[in-house]
């Protein structure tokens, strides 16, 4: 039985379709990554799956009583709010000192309990957020661009940590990313999104798919693939090539 399933999900905001006809499911223990350029609706999809955003068509079903651990894209703790890491881990449910210490140890930031959340580095904060999510013993961890603001080694270490957590706890992992290479190795399944699902499959299948290459512009080869792709589909506007016009350089550099 899937933990979360979406059928024909559409989200419309301000007269624009952010998502159209998205079918999605995630099974227990799976690591699924949603890839897509900026503005492709990745965060909206995650928010709709969690229930933070109402869909305008289709339906989202979650396993009854599903325990979700959510790691938001950013967490800004206002300097006016004093908050130690230890106190933060007890939001919204109090946890024991031992459980808090164990969670921090598991995410590689043992001993940070007395530090102020607002004074943590980007990498420390991500690990503290993950530790907090793990404290609810989630069946699924949901992470929205968890490595934003981390450097390359930090990113690789964070994905490795996610795999370790999955191996140790059996939790499913659903994450959103706009970077390609590092994240794909850690995933069982990858979904390319650009308003709708462009392609889906194992990392190997997806990285060879023309839709994926079109979406992210693979240098000259990518441009050629795009050309062929558009040529093949030039009367079908499926949205996957759209991004290429605007973000070609950014995609090629990624």
């Amino acid at each position: 039985m899937p933990l979360i399933e979406a059928r024909g999900l559409g989200v419309r905001r301000g007269g624009h379709d952010i998502l159209r006809a998205v079918n999605f499911r995630i099974l227990p223990g799976e690591i699924v990554t949603v890839l897509g350029p900026n503005g492709s609706g990745k965060s909206t999809l995650i928010r709709a799956l969690i229930g933070l955003e109402p869909g305008s068509s289709g339906e989202v079903t979650r396993k009854p009583g599903l325990r979700m651990g959510y790691v938001p894209q950013r967490l800004h703790v206002d300097a006016a709010l004093p908050m130690t890491v230890r106190r933060f881990l007890s939001l919204p449910r109090r946890v024991s000192d031992a459980a808090a210490a164990e969670a921090l140890g598991r995410t590689g930031v043992a001993g940070l309990e007395k530090r102020q959340v607002s004074a943590l580095s980007g990498g420390q904060l991500q690990r503290v957020l993950l530790a907090r999510a793990l404290l609810s013993s989630p069946e699924i961890l949901i992470l929205d661009e968890p490595t934003q603001g981390l450097d390359q080694p930090g990113e690789a270490a964070f994905y490795k940590l996610l795999e370790e957590v999955r191996a140790a706890t059996g939790t499913a992992v659903l994450m959103v990313s706009h970077d390609l290479h590092v994240v794909m190795r850690a995933s069982d399944r990858v979904i390319c999104l650009n308003g709708h699902v462009c392609c889906e499959g194992t990392p190997e299948i997806v990285s060879a798919a023309p839709e994926y290459r079109a979406l992210f512009g693979m240098g000259m080869g990518g441009a050629l693939a795009l050309y062929r792709h558009m040529h093949d589909h030039d009367h079908v506007h499926d949205g996957c090539e759209h991004d290429h016009d605007h973000h070609h350089h950014e995609g090629a550099d990624a």
């Binding site: 938001p72 206002d78 919204p92």
Partner: protein, 262 residues
Amino acid sequence: MPDAFLIHAALAGIGLMLAAGPLGAFVVWRRMAYMGDATAHAALLGAALALLADLPIALGTALVALAIASLVTVLSSRDRAADTILGVLAHSALAIGLVAISFAPQVRSDLSTFLFGDILTVSIADLAWIWGGAAIVLGLLAWRWNALLTATVNEELAQAAGLDPRRERFVLTVALALVVAVAIKVVGALLISAMLIVPAAAARSFARTPEGMALIAVLIGCASVLAGLWGSFIYDTPAGPSIVTAAAAAFAFSLAKGRRAR
């Protein structure tokens, strides 16, 4: 032994601060200062309407403050850049309140009571109202404390944990309206938000956790009440403003302390 009116005044101020300390911390954390202003100024309108309709003043202030606070909550949650609207509302509420009061001739004479409070004439009945209101606010905040705090840190985090941030906002709205209705007698409509913000802001430098900040805000607030009343007695200055002045001095001191700690 100080006079009874001074003891009543001290008890009124301390009762108010028991609720205003923790609530003020939320006002500071959530940057609701304008909302505090709008609600406090609406209390004046509420008092005027209550007088005109021959209803108890406390009831009128509580109801109108609740209405304005709800309106502000809706406006500010719909649009994060609602700063201007809040400013308009806060000052319009004050102006309309002043206009409305001019239709109630029996109050015109002691308008300053409503603007600056009259803590030195607090009666036993007033004390019961102040402590009762403060107890309700404290109970409300204690009941929702962890949920309120989670929603204050990050609304999405709260939602993903199954909480409803809108409900938590409403809890704060009700608490704010109650504190305003309680405080109008103590410090008056113009200085209510000072009693919320200044002790909490002063507490920030000394606190490491949210609970610590709320508690220190209560202590600083109570000390300000006593110091302000003492100053008012010795130098014959108005009591409400003297209390706020004492709190402002505590804030200035905390800034110096905070800079040294850093």
